[in-house]
């Protein structure tokens, strides 16, 4: 299957220090990738590189012909600056913008209907006229998801979507993710993979370098253990962990 995105030997850093080094990754249609790793390990940076928000020092990102303009991005809602005066509906409509339609103020009715339908799907239609500063954190996150979905993305990137979320909002979000899986590839960045343990296809561990695992590397008895001790999934090579130790840098073929 031709990948939607093929990332080869990507390196990027701040000042002199590499934060993401020699990362290669392929995202295929309807893939569900968990991108995990410690805080400061470069997860959000890798996401911003893929999205084109920042440019890599070296390496390439190739998109399948139709995929480049069709990336959905849900940033961490806790960091979102809500001071801009805009309604929920107008905010979602900014998700329809692309390099062809950002000028001239005519707005297509089709976009408007699509935005309203997306908000309805996310249970926010009655708040479409509200200002974004009046929303709760969970509502703001759903608006950010609606903004990402309104452009019919082929890949949806979610940055720490379940962080600081109560159990019921979390299960609502997981149901939403399940309902989207048939339509798009999903990449979830998280430092806590527990809620996704039954869902993912691939798991990518990023701590400057990236290590990639298939689902098969975690069989179902061990998945039970993942629930019991979620931190262990990161502790490669330490006794009682679920994954073998990564090859050192020099060992790799």
């Amino acid at each position: 299957m031709e990948p939607l995105i093929a990332i080869e030997h990507l390196t990027y850093g701040y000042e002199q220090r590499a934060v993401v080094e020699d990362v290669s990754l392929r995202i295929v249609p309807e893939d569900f990738i968990l991108l995990i790793g410690p805080n400061g390990g470069g997860k959000t940076t890798l996401l911003k590189l893929i999205l084109g928000i920042i440019s890599p020092w070296s390496g390439t990102i190739r998109f399948r012909g139709d995929a480049e303009g069709r990336l959905g991005y849900v940033p961490q809602f806790a960091n979102f600056n809500r001071t801009f005066p805009i309604s929920v509906l107008d905010m979602v409509l900014t998700g329809c913008l692309n390099r062809e339609n950002y000028y001239l103020s005519r707005r297509r009715n089709a976009d408007r209907e699509k935005a309203a339908a997306t908000l309805a799907k996310l249970g926010l239609i009655e708040r479409q006229g509200s200002n974004i500063s009046d929303l709760s954190g969970g509502q703001l996150q759903r608006v950010l998801i609606a903004r990402a979905l309104v452009s019919d993305p082929l890949i949806l990137f979610l940055d720490e979507p379940t962080t600081s979320m109560d159990a019921s909002s979390q299960s609502g979000l997981l149901e939403l993710i399940d309902s989207l899986r048939a339509h798009m590839a999903i990449v979830v960045v998280t430092h806590d993979p527990t809620p996704y343990a039954h869902r993912y296809d691939h798991i990518a561990c990023l701590n400057r370098e990236l290590h990639y695992h298939r689902r098969g590397e975690l069989d179902s008895p061990t998945l039970e253990k993942v629930y019991g001790c979620p931190v262990e999934i990161l502790g490669h090579g330490i006794p009682h962990t679920l994954l073998p130790r990564h090859a050192r840098r020099g060992d790799r073929p």
């Binding site: 999205l51 005066p85 900014t94 913008l97 001239l104 200002n131």
Partner: protein, 278 residues
């Protein structure tokens, strides 16, 4: 009162105030939303350096100021783009160096030395028909550009990273906004002075943000508040024989205070703080 309005210089002042209010109301909400107020202050003082050199060379002041402000705007935009965390520092330095260059060159210019206070506060009562024509061109340029690029400007002001992810030309849009700001400043300081430009870019936006939270309505209300402030300030200045620019600014400040107090008294109890205030 009708006798006052028959004076040509009063009519010119009113027209200048209206046009400056339109420009500032269109561009001010973006400047406030993108936290570019300090940048605008820096640019307008950098313009002063260009004015000084233009006087010394004997060319049109607008020419010198435009070159200086556009250079400073491009410099600031580039520093901002490179994420060097030196934006603040660069603006402060440009601000001081610009004014110093202006003062030195005006001092070196033989003969007629323009009053420095004129550049700070302007003199809206001495606006010439030529100034009005240039200002009208500015109104048309700024308004037309913002109408055409409105959605792009909003996308960048709202969430720059998302706009980049959507492949919008974010760097060009930011530069465009910066250049519009620079052009507005450079034209308006000839008409109303540095301080009045900054006042008109901020005070009407703050008043409008107290009254509505829709970006388009903030723009419209900013224009109206700016016009009201200019007219009220001119009236106060005429009646009390006070300097016109400073009167306009203080009228704006007083109006903002009244609106905020009124908001707290009548509607403020349950509504959260308006969004553009920082």
């Amino acid at each position: 009162m009708s006798e006052v309005l028959s004076y040509g210089f009063i009519q010119h002042a009113i027209l200048a105030g209206i046009m400056a209010s339109v420009v500032c109301g269109v561009i001010g909400p973006f400047i406030v939303a993108r936290r570019m107020v300090f940048i605008s202050g820096g640019l307008s003082h950098t313009a002063f350096g260009g004015l000084g050199i233009a006087y010394w060379l004997g060319i049109h002041p607008l020419l010198g100021a435009t070159v200086f402000v556009l250079a400073a705007a491009v410099l600031i935009a580039r520093i901002h783009e490179k994420n060097l965390n030196q934006n603040d520092l660069a603006i402060g330095i440009l601000w001081a160096v610009g004014v110093a260059i202006g003062i030195i060159f005006i001092h070196l210019t033989p003969g007629y030395a323009p009053d420095l206070m004129t550049f700070l506060f302007g003199n809206i009562l001495t606006v010439s028909p030529g100034d009005l024509l240039v200002t009208l061109l500015l109104v048309l340029t700024v308004t037309a550009t913002v109408v055409v690029l409105y959605r792009g400007f909003v996308a960048v002001a709202l969430d720059e990273e998302y706009a980049k992810a959507r492949r919008l030309p974010v760097a060009s849009l930011k530069m465009g906004l910066m250049v519009l700001t620079a052009l507005s400043i450079v034209t308006l300081i000839q008409v109303v002075g540095i301080l009045l430009v900054i006042a008109l870019l901020t005070i009407p936006v703050a008043i409008a943000s107290e009254l509505t939270r829709d970006f388009r309505r903030i723009m419209l209300l900013s224009i109206l508040c700016g016009i009201f402030t200019c007219l009220a300030g001119l009236l106060v200045s005429y009646v009390a024989e006070l300097p016109s620019g400073a009167s306009i600014i203080l009228c704006g400040g007083a109006l903002l205070g009244l609106v905020r107090i009124g908001n707290r008294l009548f509607a403020g109890r349950k509504s959260p703080p308006p969004t553009l205030r920082q």
